[in-house]
Amino acid sequence: MTTKMDIQTMIQTLQKFWGDKGCMLMQAYDVEKGAGTMSPYTFLRAIGPEPWNAAYVEPSRRPADGRYGENPNRLFQHHQFQVVMKPSPENIQDYYLDSLAALGIDPLEHDIRFVEDNWENPSMGCAGVGWEVWLDGMEVSQFTYFQVVGGLEVSPVTSEITYGVERLASYIQDVNSVFDLEWGDGVLYGDIFKEPEYEHSKYAFEVSDQEMLLKFFDAYEKEAWRLMDLGLVHPAYDYILKCSHTFNLLDARGAVSVTERAGYMSRIRKMAHKVARAFVAERKKLGFPLLQRKTEVQ
């Protein structure tokens, strides 16, 4: 009996819900990253005065979290359903709860809590205030009001909601292992991702070429700075993302000592700060088009 919502229906439901709330339904951004926050649709768009409402699924790679497909809850790559709205709507908490209801989670049948969890991503110079949302004791979403992005204090404030797709699906489908989740049409999560999980874990922990990755990092970094100097903000940002992912691979391999770690993080942070400023400058030069569009609509 499969009356329980499969993952693709969940995603469709969330897309419909947030689309109706005025979010643009974007697609996953095609550079590797550790979290949906790092998509330019969040990181860059959270900066500056222009309004921005978007929702998208982001496959998020965290090499160090890989478990060869053996752990029922830990994954090299998981999926985040990301919703960003700027300025944060007054009733964003209610929207979120309504979205859970759309997924069939009736708050009266559960215990839903907003537990303080202030979010920080030091390597990207980001900080926010908010909660982790507990559903019967399980963290199913991260809810953040961005305060600083790329080292810049933001105004207006972006609200970010990140649903852990696998977590939430495990709850909805009542399975103990993510690999038993139904993605769609009777196909299981494990059928799609178990082998890649194993291979990526094997690669990240045992096989990756450290020398090559170290060279990549340096080369990506150099290219990012070169492109920023040329005012090519978006290509530069792609290379910053590549630096970040390469660092994560090196870290998983144990190739970065604790001392060096801080050094790499600071190199990425410097680029993130720079690109954030460059992005605002670029939008300003364009006259903040989305701001004007808003005025026209009003």
Partner: protein
Amino acid sequence: MTHDYLIEIGLEDMPAHVVTPSLNQFHDKTVAFLKANHLEHGTIDCYATPRRLALLVHDLAAKQADIEEDVKGPAKKIAQDADGNWTKAAIGFSRGQGMTPDDIVFKTVKGVDYVYLHKAIKGKSAAEILPGMLAVIKSLTFPTRMKWGAYDFEYIRPIHWLVSLLDDQVVPMKLLDVEAGRVTQGHRFLGKPVSLANPDDYVSALKDQFVIVEPATRKQLIRDQIKQIATDHQWQIDLDSDLLEEVNNLVEWPTAFAGTFDKKYLAIPEAVLITSMKDNQRYFYARDTTGKMVNAFIGVRNGNRDHLANVIAGNEKVLAARLEDAAFFYAEDQKRSIAEDVERLKAVSFHDKISSMYDKMGRTKVIADILADKFGLSTADKADLDRATSIYKFDLVTSMVGEFPELQGIMGEHYARLAGEKPAVAQAIAEHYEPIAADGALPQSLVGTVLAIADKLDSLMSFFAVDLIPSGSNDPYALRRQAYGIVRMIAAHDWPFALAKLQPAIAQALAAAGKTNGLDFAAHQEELNAFVIDRAKQLLQGEKIRHDIVDAVTVRSDADIAGILDAAKVLTAHAADDDFKAVMEALGRVLRITGNKATDTQVDPDKFKNNTEGQLHQAVTTTAQTFDAEPTEADYQALKALVDPINAYFDATMVMADDAAVRANRLATLQQLARLIRQFGDVSQVIVK
């Protein structure tokens, strides 16, 4: 007639730990506001949940008292010119008081006529004053603040509603685009918005909407529910007050429930089970009547009993996933030997600028060796200490400590026992972090204490060596707390600890062992010594030792910590003696005349010119033979016995004699005595009346 006033701030969910302090702050600032505005009031009831802070002011005066007063102005001769016309001074004064010169009267003060105005200020009504509460709301401070939407305003969380009700009337105010009114919000899921007719309705109206606004009532309800569950199952529950306070501020309508987990997880160390339940999930854990942990927990839902089975099942599943992880880590960690973990410490940084954890252990070992000799540890204890210093940080690379950092040391002890280490070694590993808080428990074992001191001393010397010296409130590595811990441990064992001598010895030993990582561990000696002595001062002040005695003993010449503490103890014990004044004055006089100048001159009895010189010299020499290395009661008594010879000496002897040889000889005699006195510090600083 008096009034009731209700003010409620409605917010998105505040952090639990912020709720109570914010409510107290709201109360105190409101009291100050009412006082500053001369509005009398009765009791103030305080209410709070995660989503609201509210105050109900009872018996609020209808208005400020009318004030009648005579305001004194300039002298008459300044206020009027020769023709009796009002001067600019008089006109300005009247205008300043909101009146005209026609209102002026004259009064004579000490024979001079002055201008006066009689003012009658009508008190403002409460309704006129209370909109000022908006400023009180804005003035609340929080540990973290946030902006939201397009506003520049910062607060703990976004504000959604305000209730401001004076009896049945709304006192208007507006914050951002929130207008104060009479409508409050019920429980987020179970309740509805409710319009309040009067402030007095607040508690009952919200109770109807599934919100218990009185924190104490809510907490008692949780306590009772948990006790009921415990009774039903014959469990013992540790009602941890911090957890209870946190849970209380996570719910508006609490319902406690019991859940269980698979018995197999009871094989995981208890500390891990407790951390998973209490810290991660905010559950209370349970023991049976014999004190054994049971495979169950108690959680508290923010809601009623409907569909409680769902909630329990969900919570059980989450906990099971956590414990499954913990069980996995526990098994994985045991696959590696302690030696392998120790090896991996080479890749773990203690601090970027200092060294790896592995190297830190190496330094601690050198320091512990030196301390063990100084403290007189037995050969057996030294052997245990040696083993402990070789491994004591190994648990930092275990998966369990990676997952639960707060279990560092505790897991180390556990794994060490499993690996067959001696109990004393395992215990020392857990104890070396102690005292964890300023007033936290001290290590129980000797080996643990020495390891704890050595580890902390290494941290102090290392951070000072790379110029990371605490200043002002900036002490990111908690070096003050660590130094204070050292002082407390030294005090508890009365061990010698003179950093001025110890630090060079350690620096030398580290250099000899090739363990300096290129750093200068002899650096900043005076600063580090003063830093530690300041902590001894802190300890003495905490024991309510007189400030002048603290000042006196902390300038002891060798700055031995145990000596400082002993000296303070002895002097304090005699501070109320009838002869304390005489003793301090006599000894203080010796210190003052000799100053801090050392002398190499040997005392030559042939140069004595009167009997008292020989008598004092004889007495001092005898006393010196029995004097202890540390200040003791006997030493004090011995110095006291010298008071008469000292006074006789000063009566008969002019120390600063014209003859240089005689003068030097006299100073040398007194220097010999001063060295003994200085065991108690600079007693000339002790204030005697």
